[in-house]
Symmetry: C2
Subunit: 295 residues, 2 copies
Amino acid sequence: MINRLCIIGVGLIGGSLALALKKYSACQYIIGCGRSIENLHNAIELGVIDDYHTDPAVAVQGCDVVLLAIPVGGMRTVMAAIKPALTENMVITDAGSTKGSIIEGAREVFGDLPGGLIPGHPVAGNENSGVIAATADLYRGCRVILTPHENSHEDALNTVTAMWRATGAQVNYMDAELHDHILASTSHLPHMLAFSLVRELVNSPHHDNIFRYAAGGLRDFTRIAESDPVMWRDICLSNKDAILAAIDRYRDELERLQRAICESDADTMHNMFAEAHDARARFRCLLDIQEQDCQ
Amino acid sequence: MINRLCIIGVGLIGGSLALALKKYSACQYIIGCGRSIENLHNAIELGVIDDYHTDPAVAVQGCDVVLLAIPVGGMRTVMAAIKPALTENMVITDAGSTKGSIIEGAREVFGDLPGGLIPGHPVAGNENSGVIAATADLYRGCRVILTPHENSHEDALNTVTAMWRATGAQVNYMDAELHDHILASTSHLPHMLAFSLVRELVNSPHHDNIFRYAAGGLRDFTRIAESDPVMWRDICLSNKDAILAAIDRYRDELERLQRAICESDADTMHNMFAEAHDARARFRCLLDIQEQDCQ
């Protein structure tokens, strides 16, 4: 049970955690922090937080856990702002989509990595944003990856693990670098592809008709292109090398397929589609099993 | 009201049309035709068709409408098979995903394009296949594009239009070439991207972990990679030029984004993501309006 939690950035991610912890009575008091007073007012009215401060250094005072749920690009500034108010037993975690840059930023700001710092990433969320989209069940059945470092205290790790488990999430531990490579493929690359596809469609010679005659597949396929541009800019800046490598590998695959189409090479095309088809079917089974495990 | 309909290829597409026409009493008798007797037996047991023949030339006899619902690559062979049994008033339509190749094939097989030939494309379907996946509501609210040619009879066009409208679909008319260009962008390109993404993930250095830590976005984004490999091989062979052009344009977009990431050009990235975000939001509104119109 957390006594007092400070959530810096009360949007979809931070707000959903707050709602889940309240629903399952896993936290006594939640204080929000952010730049928009209107948003913080909304969060109180929606029952997401109990109170708020706009100054991070004030907001974190007396809290046993602090969650940074802001775009990755803002993490250093906020860490610097809360630094004077940090106490030895305060646990700090985050919900950023990249982890290497958080650790790097913390090293710069704090000099040495604090024992209470447990970087984390709830692999959840959707194309919506803002506290208005927050729900208590966002994390149910999802995975949360924690990337503790060489200084991390076991107690802090246990606290953050218990916090996420209370929301119904599965918690896994991983090296920050491995996290960033895996997420580059499973999340960052697909987003880059979706953003690029929507741009291609808008710029295509028949763009007036494109969206009128779009099938359901396109709707699913481009949904993630409605994700927050600021968040994705920050992710690209902070996980640049892994994302570029994933795009390179992807472009090689696409070129190989394009060559087969260009040469009307029916067998190669069929093999490529069949391999992808079979791999996707195995992936679906895996997801179905995971969902059953979580229920 | 159609008296006797012959469906050649009783899978998801042909089977769903049959179920819809039966549900809305828009056809008296449906005869199926295909190579797999087991599948045709299933279709009878599922109440999809009333009877079947495995020989297309026999199956079409006495029918007022014939639907070819097979992969595009098989169309010429089937058109040649039914040619001797064609009568002047027989209406022939198809459900192929490309239209230029159907018209080209018909010209080769029949010498001159028959007045009863109305090429068509229901912009529907999902990653499932086979008559077992057929549902009466597959076409509800979907668009069906018909691409009549210079010889098409008005009566035949009216018959095919009424048939699809009976399923709850919206019917539009379009030039075959324009159809193929639009679908290259809205359907064929996204499928190529999804097939390539799944292949990239399978071949990536961390593929063991990739699918374990996949978020919901990836599930939606790769769903269409489970589509039928034979169907997609045929689509690529028959709409090669338009698909290659769409992939070229897409690769340019992706390269532009990759360059911005490589140069850590935050403003360009943000602008690209924001443009895609806004276009996708407009697209969602358009789809929502269309869905309301159809209800």
